[in-house]
Symmetry: C2
């Protein structure tokens, strides 16, 4: 038996983000999934209209209190994701705090969902709450922008990336950080060790829009900070699949939690390898599937046409819903499935020391 | 591709009833499942405490309106279940009415969840709303008590069972009725044809507490009501599994909808055979699993001890949660799985005419 995951994320009627993206994959991995819905929405934000109700802090607290009275609040793992406002997030913080106290070996994956590409899509007062939650987490999965916000360090080069990771590891005491999709810009690509560069690139190439980097940072035991680096870094590039797909990060985080085995010699690297490989295979499957759809459901954003005909946007978003159901064999069998190419994360041994 | 099911039922954080019992099995059968939650509760009612929020008619109508604006309201199949009050149920009726008009070949399974064993557990004003919804349904799955309420006929013998089915088929225009678990009492067992009696019973036995009967009634084309019977009846007994398990009816209804193929020569009999066999196998698996649990999670109700220690009830209910996740291979492979004994429903040819 794999055990029980408590997942606190969004519910959407249609499509696959939040709890709809996390539950089925975790169930296929044989976890029982208890789902607290932070919102009850129609669909994700890539459609023209999104709406529904948000769960209040009082509603979440009431659910938690009653579950506790029934002795039903005993998960082995906890995952928290999208929450639109600060008060419910504070309720979730209280939940995580209480669970950590009750269940010493709880594994908590905190996905600090706040924004992307330089802009927030949640209320600004969530930021300090997320910062205060960091010491509770076993693993966090920020994107680059979210790592910048949490660490208050703008990432523009390798030293500032190191600085941001260092702050989160040491100041906020987070043992494991996973950055899922960093673009291979000119501040990063030339610094990658040869083993981590995409094979087909010439050594003189300084940026590469066709791949993204997944990077994991596992804090080292702080015996002698002068001798050992702060953390051990593994990383891997994967081909970028064109177009915007919603829920990819939610799927990745759920799989990362599902595959995480504390007894593994390299638990974070191993879980990230599985999660990255399977997420990439599901996305590739979904992308291939969209190519068989009507033309206006498959093309990338075309804002001018969208403005003229909002339903183009709806059809495109619908065509891009993750094909979790149709790709369930990939989720179930993981890297043992012949259609799931393995992308093992490789050691980046001089991450902390290279010039 | 199997298509898309819209499922309007309860959500519970913990355990498997309503949408939590229906979604995963339908996803394993390769359906995309859109889930509208009629309530957001902690758990089902077999626990000492149950609570959370109910979705209002306005909230449900808002979700529906926005889904429609995004062109996301195009399911191939619809299933509706537990709804606690009349106003939201009226909203669901409007939804079913609109979908029937938009989608001529929509398959609608209506589970008129109202009560069991002689008592209602929903508001009484739901009853007329459910009656008014019957003409919209492709299949309904009442228990004996719910069939009595819908037809306003007390079922005490074979003629009154015929009368109740007749009313629902002809007065309410329902093509398919499935009664999932009728006790083999003395009004029924002696009238079963020999092919339908449990094999091990002696011919003189007049009641049998160790089996239950599943009965399907598919309305015949009304060419000449004097010549052909009102409906074709198939039925099957299965061994009764001791103890009360929540969500069994919800699982059965979801599987019945999932397996229903209008192009089959006997669509209702075939779907019911699959649904009955798989539900019974999952229940048998769950029951066997409960036997490995601590003693106070496995025993049947003991009201005196429960009153002294309410958490006994919680532990017993927890031990009895359907093992959908652990039994996922049974759900996935159905009667092709070696641990799913097939219970084919057999024709009851003289149901309408036998004395």
């Amino acid at each position: 038996m794999r055990g029980r995951v408590l997942s606190v994320q969004s519910h959407v009627v249609y499509g696959y983000v939040g709890n709809k993206a996390a539950t089925f994959p975790l169930q296929l991995l044989a976890y029982d999934v208890d789902a607290i819905n932070t919102v009850n929405y129609t669909n994700h934000a890539a459609y023209p209209i999104t709406g529904g109700t948000k769960s209040s802090a009082a509603e979440i607290n009431q659910l938690i209190a009653m579950l506790r009275q029934n002795e039903l609040l005993k998960p082995h793992r906890l995952i928290t994701g999208y929450t639109p406002t600060a008060d419910p997030l504070s309720a979730i913080k209280d939940l995580a705090t209480a669970l950590k106290a009750d269940i010493p070996d709880l594994i908590y994956l905190l996905d600090p969902v706040m924004g992307d590409s330089g802009s927030l899509y949640v209320s600004e007062d969530l930021v300090p709450v997320y910062r205060s939650m960091l010491p509770l987490a076993t693993i966090i999965t920020p994107n680059r922008f979210e790592l910048e916000i949490l660490s208050q360090i703008k990432i523009t080069d390798l030293p500032s990336l190191r600085h941001a990771l260092n702050v989160v590891h040491t100041q906020y005491n987070v043992p494991n950080i996973v950055l899922t999709s960093i673009l291979l810009d000119s501040w990063l690509l030339p610094h990658l060790p040869p083993t981590l560069r995409p094979e087909e690139l010439s050594p003189s190439t300084t940026s590469d829009p066709s791949h993204i980097l997944c990077l994991t940072s596992q804090r080292n035991p702080s015996t002698d900070p002068n001798n050992s680096p702060i953390s051990t870094i593994y990383a891997r590039t994967v081909p970028l699949i064109p177009g915007y797909f919603s829920g990819v990060g939610d799927l990745f985080s759920a799989l990362l939690l599902g595959y995480y085995q504390p007894s593994s010699p390299t638990p974070l690297q191993s879980a990230a390898t599985h999660a990255l490989s399977v997420t990439h295979a599901v996305l590739a499957f979904t992308y291939t599937r969209t190519l068989s759809l009507p033309k206006d459901e498959q093309y990338p954003t075309d804002d001018e046409s969208d403005a003229k005909e909002p339903l183009r946007k709806a059809r495109r978003a619908r065509g891009r819903e993750l094909a979790l159901i149709q790709a369930q064999d990939l989720l179930r069998h993981g890297i043992a499935h012949p259609s799931v190419p393995e992308y093992p994360l490789e050691l980046w041994s001089d991450f902390w020391s290279a010039a």
